[in-house]
């Protein structure tokens, strides 16, 4: 059974010039502990999809299930990370990371919260920055911290909306590796919105291409590598073929 199941979802926003149809009959499933990357033309409704899955929005039609349970409102089994790391400047990095625990597990002893946050920080290489303020960190480091905060409460699902979109190419590749390392230690089922096709095949087990607005799942590609993932894999003939196909699908989506 898929951990995330999106069935026949349609959604529209009201605007002054009538409703904007954003998603139309969208279907998508994500297997437990796997990661699905979602790519598609900008403005097609990717962020809307993340807000529907996390229960921040209710779909006009269709259903979304997490672990077989229908999503009707936000629940604590979801973690979110965005392009903007949205760290709170008045808190230290450590306190920022503990924030979700204050909501989800208010009774957890402070020592345990700190222990959990510190463990994640050292996992992403920020052990020495626990006491710093967000503004003292670089963009890549902030995104690492944002990732820690998104999974500190051990969510079943991690939703990432272009988390590396604002980073330079080298920092981005470092963070891909960090994400894989974190996932190996702290398994989660992931949905990653991105418009970097290389990122999508490097990180994901499945890539979904959405059509132009109103979006539906236009194309699905399974990504399998026989080796442990590393950057070199992106330069193989297999990857090139996958990227070529994805690029073709994006062109079609943009034209639709």
């Amino acid at each position: 059974m898929s951990l995330i199941k999106i069935r026949n979802v349609s959604h529209a926003f009201e605007s002054d010039d009538g409703p904007i149809k954003v998603l139309k009959n969208l279907d998508l499933s994500v297997e437990r502990d796997s990661l699905t990357a979602v790519v598609g033309p900008s403005g097609c409704g990717k962020s809307t999809l993340t807000r529907l899955i996390s229960g921040l929005l209710k779909p006009d039609r269709g259903e979304i299930f997490l672990e077989g349970e229908k999503v009707v409102s936000p629940r604590s089994n979801v973690g979110m990370a965005f392009q903007n790391p949205v760290l709170l400047e008045w808190r230290t990095i450590l306190d920022n990371i503990m924030l979700p625990l204050e909501i989800v597990a208010p009774k957890m002893p402070k020592k345990e919260k700190v222990g959990r946050a510190e463990r994640l920080l050292s996992l992403v290489g920020l052990a020495d920055f626990a006491g710093r303020r967000p503004s003292e960190l670089s963009g890549g480091m902030r995104q690492r911290a944002s990732l820690c905060r998104a999974i500190v409460h051990k969510p079943k699902v991690l939703i990432m909306d272009e988390p590396f979109g604002a980073l330079d190419a080298f920092t981005r590749e470092d963070l891909w590796q960090v994400l894989l390392d974190v996932k190996a230690e702290e398994p989660f089922t992931g949905l990653l919105i991105t418009h970097d096709l290389r990122e999508s095949i490097f990180l994901a087990d499945q890539v979904a291409v959405l059509s132009g607005r109103p979006a539906m799942t236009q194309y699905l590609m399974d990504v399998e590598f026989s080796e442990k993932r590393n950057i070199e894999l992106l330069f193989t003939a297999k990857s090139t073929a996958m990227l070529k196909e994805l690029r073709k699908q994006i062109r079609i989506a943009q034209a639709s």
């Binding site: 807000r51 996390s54 229960g55 921040l56 409102s73 936000p74 629940r75 604590s76 979801v78 973690g79 979110m80 965005f82 903007n84 949205v86 709170l88 400047e89 008045w90 924030l99 979700p100 204050e102 909501i103 989800v104 303020r133 905060r149 409460h153």
Partner: protein, 253 residues
């Protein structure tokens, strides 16, 4: 460094006093045109008791007016910041109200509640000073990026939790910026009423009695006292700001 921070303002103030004394002396201005710093000492000595009584009057009324401003301003700012409908409904009203020069409201209030000096004064101090606070809170809340809300909302946090944990702290720097403006405004409000209100109390009334008796050094001494009280209140706000919103420090004051 610390010493320098205390030293520089003191030297600047002294230089200013010397300059003032010099200008009056060089122009040979009489007292009724412009009192000089050396006239102030005797005025303070002669009326020091009055300065304490009246200064205290002015101070506590201003502070109470300001506290009401903060309560009301934060409340109305919250309402406007969280609901677009309320913002659209209340904004024109607030702007219109703020546009009325308070000097015109003072005599009306003084007549409406004649004799209720404390009430009148606090009312005007409040009316004149809540606007910046309301605006800063409403703008702070309404411009909060969706992601800031979403990191907590996606966990099922209530609106109240989001307000306390994120919206309020994030708005604090703007709030304190507004509060610094409001402090001066509240002082103006208090003094307007104290001057206009017959048989009033406070530094404004002392100023008025100086005017009636053509005691120009007294009038100038009142001005200086007002300035000192203003500085004290202002720096109390700065202190609070550093305590509660020090993380946003940009060396603005």
């Amino acid at each position: 460094m610390r010493l320098k921070r205390v030293f520089i303002p003191i030297v600047a103030t002294l230089l200013f006093l010397i300059f003032w004394e010099l200008v009056v002396w060089l122009n040979d201005w009489p007292n009724y045109k412009m009192a000089s710093p050396s006239d102030l000492g005797p005025a303070f000595l002669k009326y020091w008791e009055l300065f304490f009584i009246m200064g205290w009057q002015t101070l506590w009324r201003t502070v109470i007016g300001l506290l009401i401003s903060i309560l009301f301003g934060v409340l109305i700012g919250m309402v406007m910041g969280m609901s677009k409908t309320m913002r659209e409904a209340l904004y024109p009203l607030l702007v219109g109200f703020n546009a009325i020069p308070k000097a015109t409201v003072v005599p009306i209030v003084a007549l409406m509640f004649v004799g209720a000096h404390d009430f009148n004064t606090i009312l005007i101090a409040f009316m004149i000073s809540f606007f910046p606070i309301a605006v800063s809170i409403s703008i702070g809340l309404s411009t909060l990026e969706a992601e800031y809300r979403d990191i907590l909302r996606s966990l099922g946090a209530s609106d109240m939790t989001i307000f306390w944990k994120i919206a309020l702290p994030k708005t604090l720097p703007e709030f304190f910026g507004a509060l610094k403006v409001s402090v001066s405004l509240a002082f103006i409000g208090t003094n307007l009423m104290e001057i206009v209100s017959p048989h009033g109390r406070g530094l404004g009334a002392l100023f008025d009695s100086g005017k009636t008796n053509s005691d120009y050094p007294l009038m100038f001494a009142v001005l200086i006292t007002l300035a000192v009280l203003g500085i004290v209140l202002y720096y109390i706000v700065v202190l609070l700001e550093q305590t509660f919103a020090g993380w946003a420090e940009k060396e603005t004051y």
